[in-house]
């Protein structure tokens, strides 16, 4: 190996070029055409909607966040060629397909209720109090069909109405709060806000603080570990290395 070079690093960088610097047309074999808000663009075949739009020349300041399906910033509505269905997805998680027509919905106008969960009773009435529109649910299931996470959205709205916090939390847990359910709901329910309230109530009252955690916090407050910590933080690196190397590992 030369002093200032690392052939391995160069090979790794070269192999990852497309993901780190933008795509060069000469590296692409297969192409498709997509229609971004009605305008046609020829883009490489193996891209997501997000990266296809970037290839086309968009530099995002809206409608993009984590790029990996967690943040809900890149909600997108699209139709495929020859299909009557209006579909939804996250731009970063949906493959661009030939003939797709699409538009992003980077923002959902929605009201979040103001509440203090420490002062609310753990019962169904909380949903009627803060989100009375949940009772307008007509069980059409459009929210479920719109969910890019494939959650059973209507089921958790029904769980909210019943006051079943446990089931609401379980069914809604993977929600990324993109807002597509609320945008499609004919009853104008803001499902993801309803779920957020329900989950916090379940976390606080249904699960609570376990005894072992309460006990440990008390021990720390009382200074149980102070002496031990004083000692260990004043150890030399050599001593620490020894303690580290000899420490026991809890079996799996």
């Amino acid at each position: 190996m030369e002093d200032n070079k690392s052939p391995i690093m160069d090979r790794i960088a070269e192999a990852n070029k497309a993901a780190t610097t933008g795509i060069d047309a000469k590296d692409i074999k297969n192409w498709i055409t997509i229609h971004i808000m009605g305008k046609a663009y020829k883009v490489p075949a193996d891209l997501t909607i997000l990266t296809a739009m970037e290839y086309a020349g968009y530099k995002f300041v809206r409608g993009v966040g984590c790029r990996q399906g967690f943040c809900g910033a890149c909600a997108t509505v699209f139709r495929k060629k020859g299909d009557y269905k209006l579909q939804t997805g996250m731009a970063c998680q949906t493959r661009a397909e030939d003939g797709m027509y699409l538009v992003q919905i980077p923002f959902t106008p929605a009201e979040k209720a103001i509440y203090d969960i420490t002062k609310e009773p753990y019962e169904a009435s909380i949903f009627i109090k803060y989100y009375p529109e949940v009772t307008r649910c007509v069980s059409c299931n459009t929210c479920t069909k719109a969910c890019p996470q494939d959650l059973e959205v209507m089921d958790y709205v029904q769980a909210a109405i019943r006051g079943d916090f446990d089931s609401l939390s379980d069914v809604s847990f993977d929600c990324i709060q993109c807002g597509l359910c609320a945008m499609r709901c004919p009853a104008e329910i803001v499902q993801y806000h309803v779920a957020q309230l329900g989950r916090r109530m379940f976390g606080r009252y249904g699960q609570g603080v376990p005894d072992h955690l309460r006990k440990r916090v008390k021990e720390i407050t009382e200074g149980k570990f102070n002496e031990e910590m004083d000692k260990i933080t004043s150890c030399s690196t050599e001593e620490l290395r020894k303690i580290y190397t000899e420490r026991e590992k809890e079996p799996e």
Partner: protein
């Protein structure tokens, strides 16, 4: 070239390779390669991107002049500002606040909540975000949060694991704060209503992870950061604390010595806003989008190092800025998800790295730098990796082992995010392994602080990934969300104390920027680079080549 034929998500030739993994699986159920000795670790670390030659240089200007930094980092520290002092009118203040928080991930959001809890009125706090509130690496944390809250565990054990993982270079006082506050943070989250994985008796379910000696990893399926964050954001909005979105900070303001606010910039309209503040907390996260050494990244779109760039110009000292964390297991296939995170919790739950011959070649829970190096060695030195259709190399992460060890249905329950990500490309991680290769994950170092998050510059606090010291040269899994929550809290409380004893008579100016520019000129830095870069650029080369600006 003929079209590739795909069988359940994999091209035919790779499908054949999978058979080799399946064949040795039975033998590997009860076999785990031994953990490396310290000597073996040192040996393999030589091909880690952080130690392989050619990646770093000395910083030419500022408080850390002469220290080594990755080239991409040095480039941004040695860059000219976006705005000229004379272009900005500082006489019109748009927001006058007590505490300005820049960056709204877990760290910034908890800082706001704890400042409020410490007696600062909501309207005296302002949180500004480059993108939306919560577009941050925090929400992408899959694996968990460490806290020593089981009877068999102790704060001391958590401390030892943390500094061993950090190569004994951690700053002891902040590392101590991290582990001592951890159980308290867990209790706070439970009380706010965060839903953690539980045992049947209601105890918190806890797992092992790389470099950790006792089970203390708390998780929320594989959406840990998301769950923690959305609970905090809900509480934040419920208290109606003021916040701005799509308003990155492009420069800090000072009165000559103290930080006294910032210049914000409307990402959509280009208009700037002046914020005057008694105390400023930087919680802008890390630098994955700098693609150090050409690696793909697990980081969100806005992870561009802005907070360090601005703080460095006001004189904030950095530490351990040379240490970059590469997560051992980023996706290497399919091309659409290259670099995305495959949580360490997968290995914590029994998934093994396996080479092209179907051999388990490394202890699955080495510290991240060691594990990453072992995978690079397998692919590029021993040539026992798998080559993908786009020319990337990777090794297998044998996910089906998880259900053999934990029972059927476990993956669906514990890793819904992973199942979903691969299902979109017709791959079932319960049946087939996945291809992995290290990916740029975390900024280990950053701005130095005391245990309250205070920097060496008066009026300036930092919290979260932007800070340095707590993780030494290498962060352990489960210590990043914890870092954000612990030091967000401490910075919130500390700034609350500070502003009570400081009036708002101080001046705002950009004099420090002028000085910094002078330093750059004296050092002979050419005017080719400007920073902060705010967002990366992935536009297609063909489109860029024909772009003209006519407005």
């Amino acid at each position: 070239m003929a079209e590739l034929k795909y069988i359940e998500g994999y091209p035919e030739n790779i499908r054949k390779e999978i058979d080799k993994v399946a064949k040795t699986r039975d033998k590997r159920i009860d076999y785990t390669p031994p953990a490396m000795t310290m000597k073996e670790r040192d040996e393999v670390l030589r091909i880690h991107p952080d130690y392989a030659p050619g990646g770093k240089r000395e910083i030419q200007v500022g408080p850390n002049k002469g220290n080594l930094a990755p080239n991409e980092v040095a480039d941004l520290l040695e860059a000219y500002p976006l705005i000229d002092q004379d272009e900005v009118n500082l006489s019109q203040v748009d927001y006058d606040t007590d505490i300005l928080i820049i960056g709204g991930g877990l760290a910034g959001t908890s800082a706001a909540l704890w400042a409020n809890d410490s007696g600062i009125a909501t309207e005296r706090i302002l949180l500004t975000n480059k993108l939306r509130h919560g577009d941050a690496n925090s929400i992408m944390a899959e694996g968990g949060t460490q806290a020593a809250d089981r009877e068999v565990d102790s704060i001391t054990k958590h401390y030892i694991d943390t500094i061993g993982g950090g190569h004994f270079e951690n700053k002891p006082d902040v590392a101590r704060a991290l582990v001592e506050d951890a159980p308290l943070i867990m209790k706070w989250l439970c009380e706010l209503g965060a839903i953690f994985d539980r045992e049947e008796n209601g105890d918190l379910a806890e797992k092992l992870a790389g470099g950790i000696s006792v089970k203390r990893m708390h998780s929320c399926r594989d959406y840990t950061g998301l769950e923690e964050f959305r609970v905090l954001r809900d509480e934040f909005r419920t208290r109606e604390i003021p916040y701005l979105e799509h308003y990155p900070a492009i420069e800090l303001l000072t009165d000559g010595e103290r930080v006294t606010g910032a210049v914000l910039w409307n990402l959509e309209t280009g208009e700037y806003k002046i914020v005057k503040a008694k105390a400023t907390i930087i919680a802008t996260g890390g630098y994955g989008r700098l693609h150090i050494r050409g690696f793909p990244t697990t980081n969100h779109y806005g992870a561009t190092f802005d907070g360090v760039v601005l703080s460095y110009r006001v004189g904030a000292k950095l530490r351990d800025i040379d240490a970059v964390q590469y997560h051992p297991t980023g996706a290497a296939y399919p091309i659409q998800i290259v670099g995305y995170l495959l949580t360490e919790k997968l290995r914590g739950s029994g998934a093994q790295p396996v080479n092209a011959d179907g051999e388990a070649f490394v202890y699955p829970l080495e510290p991240r730098d060691v594990e990453a190096s072992a995978i690079i060695r397998e692919c590029y030195v021993r040539n026992k990796g798998i080559i993908t259709p786009t020319g990337l190399r990777g090794v297998w992460l044998d996910t089906p082992l998880i259900e053999i060890k934990n029972g059927k249905g476990y993956i669906e329950k514990a890793f819904p995010g992973m199942i979903r990500m691969y299902k979109r490309y017709d791959i079932d991680i319960r049946k087939d392994p996945v291809l992995v290769f290290p990916t740029l994950h975390y900024q280990n170092g950053g701005i130095e602080t005391d245990p309250s998050g205070r920097t060496n510059v008066d009026g300036l606090w930092v919290a979260g990934e932007v800070s340095g010291g707590v993780h030494g040269k290498n962060r352990l899994m489960g210590n990043s969300t914890l870092d954000c929550l612990v030091f967000g809290r401490r910075a919130g409380m500390s700034t609350a104390e500070y502003v009570k004893s400081h009036g708002d008579e101080s001046k705002i100016s950009l004099e420090h920027v002028k000085k910094y520019v002078k330093n750059l000129e004296q050092a002979g830095v050419k005017r080719t680079r400007r920073a902060p870069i705010i967002l990366p650029d992935y536009r297609g080369k063909a489109a860029l080549a024909r772009m003209i600006d006519v407005f």
